[in-house]
Symmetry: C2
Subunit: 366 residues, 2 copies
Amino acid sequence: MTRPILAAIDTAAFEHNLAKIRGLAPESKIWCVIKARAYGHGLEAALKGLGSTDGFAVLDIEDAGWLRDHGWQGRILLLEGLFHENELSLAHQLACDVVIHCENQVRWLEAFDALPHSRLNVFLKMNSGMNRLGFKPDAYRTAFHRLHAAGYHMHHMTHFANADQLDRSPTVDEQLECFNAGIDGLPGATSFGNSATILWHRNTLGDWVRPGVILYGASPTGRYSDIEHGGLNPVMSLTSEIIDTQELAVGERVGYGGVYEASEPMRIGIVACGYADGYPRHAKEGTPVWVSDPSMKNGGVICPIVGRVSMDMLTIDLRGAPKANLGTGVELWGAHVPVDEVAYQSGTIGYELICAVAPRVPVKII
Amino acid sequence: MTRPILAAIDTAAFEHNLAKIRGLAPESKIWCVIKARAYGHGLEAALKGLGSTDGFAVLDIEDAGWLRDHGWQGRILLLEGLFHENELSLAHQLACDVVIHCENQVRWLEAFDALPHSRLNVFLKMNSGMNRLGFKPDAYRTAFHRLHAAGYHMHHMTHFANADQLDRSPTVDEQLECFNAGIDGLPGATSFGNSATILWHRNTLGDWVRPGVILYGASPTGRYSDIEHGGLNPVMSLTSEIIDTQELAVGERVGYGGVYEASEPMRIGIVACGYADGYPRHAKEGTPVWVSDPSMKNGGVICPIVGRVSMDMLTIDLRGAPKANLGTGVELWGAHVPVDEVAYQSGTIGYELICAVAPRVPVKII
């Protein structure tokens, strides 16, 4: 690719974040959640940087196949289990652990004729209040007994709706109470701790935790300030270059809708990055972009966005960067601009942005 | 892929929309704009459905190479020209037309030693008021004369900031006046008409129009009502299935943040589509999802979103679809739900959504 945009993936940051998580959950085993192409970072980089995990959790069975093909011999969890009955023999062949969240899946497992069933690990999912996937407690116990009787190796799982905030219902405590009552007296290890639980509910982490967004150095709340002092490092840097500049006279406007108007003579830079690269079109004026300048103490300076982000370009105020010109490097997010800050300025969370980096953006593993 | 999500691309709709555009701009040649993997539809489908165009306009020279490798012998326009000088010989070899928008590019062309220069078509870009790429009128004339003197085959180009709205400055008329004055007396064909210009400013279309979003059946304004009676057909259908259901009691909440609360007993469906597939996380409650039901007159029914869109799933109110169950098909956007309607409910425009369909979503060309 010759267009200057690039997503660089820092595998040392992966290692660092995973070590941090181990420190936070020393009693638990870890499922590193790498669905959605490792939240946009790519499976290759994830396997390289997170290879010391106890297991990887994925959504698509194709990703499980990719991991096996690339030498991963540890455990693999299919986070939504099987979408169709005919995946079961492949899941078995790939030695996957499977989440079971609905009646159809229970029937498929009961009817499964490969032996022995005890070789297949089941994470039975309880709906403890989030009302997304899983069995409510009574149905859970019934499903558990059926699969246990069928010989499967059973584990218990649930997911929290509000581990990142204290005042919303259902709370972690309410869900945990429901979960613990639901599994009372049943054998099997547990898994319920997501990223926010690992950071903020460490007294109740269960046997397997499932870190997702914190592996990538972003915040479960979408607010960078909530993880700023947590010692996590951003894994992805999205960078590009200035490909044109314009001198604006007073009253001149910028981009679609002409929403930004110059109140004094100023210079703007046009950056080769737009919403078709995955940068949010919602990004407000003032969203920070870091512009390289070797003469500055920190190697660069923040220049705010002016005007509306368009499909292939965005425009920044260069009044603070008089030396910036064609070819000057910029960072859209990474070490200088937290992805959560861009997300916050766009009314969303870092999760969405890192997952959305477009296929046309080349990726470099460092 | 076994996860049930799918993006189906209807090449007959491409043909239909292109014919419609020919009818609207009968005097102009057409650059079909297929940057960003044909706005997320894929180059393969675009080439198949839009093969009767006069030329394709792309952003990355790699896409030009792909088109030549797949037999396209017509014209190809590089919409931002060259990002680096070393692309010039490849652009020449691929017989691309190139946009020239900045001084560096002019210098590269002046220094280019392949012969003859007259074989290379240049679309010189004027900044007539949008203040993104291009030369202001005085600099434009200087650049024109330099490239003309260097023997290149010259064309004139500009881009409108507000062709989709009448009351914003700069207006189409203001930009056109600037453009016409800027090229006064200079030889060369013109190109300035984008999708909105083709629909709503048909008295001034120039020699080459550049339809983008209307090729894909979406609206330049992001409002479906603006193209509803224009006879364009949606090219992409994004479909998936219900993978679980939940029965909610009064007061129970749904999903992250628990933002939706059931006011009466109700059933919800969990759909295998989330923001990591490209569905907007911003989508408001009430955003329509079409649920298949062969017993209904139209073959299905609209069910609104409840709760927050999560990474891999979204949840819909099934009170209007009592027969829907595991495996029932849904359309997120397409023939039943305009992509612009989903975009509008998410505070953006259809452009962003179709471009953002994730690599993990399988594509089927029909």
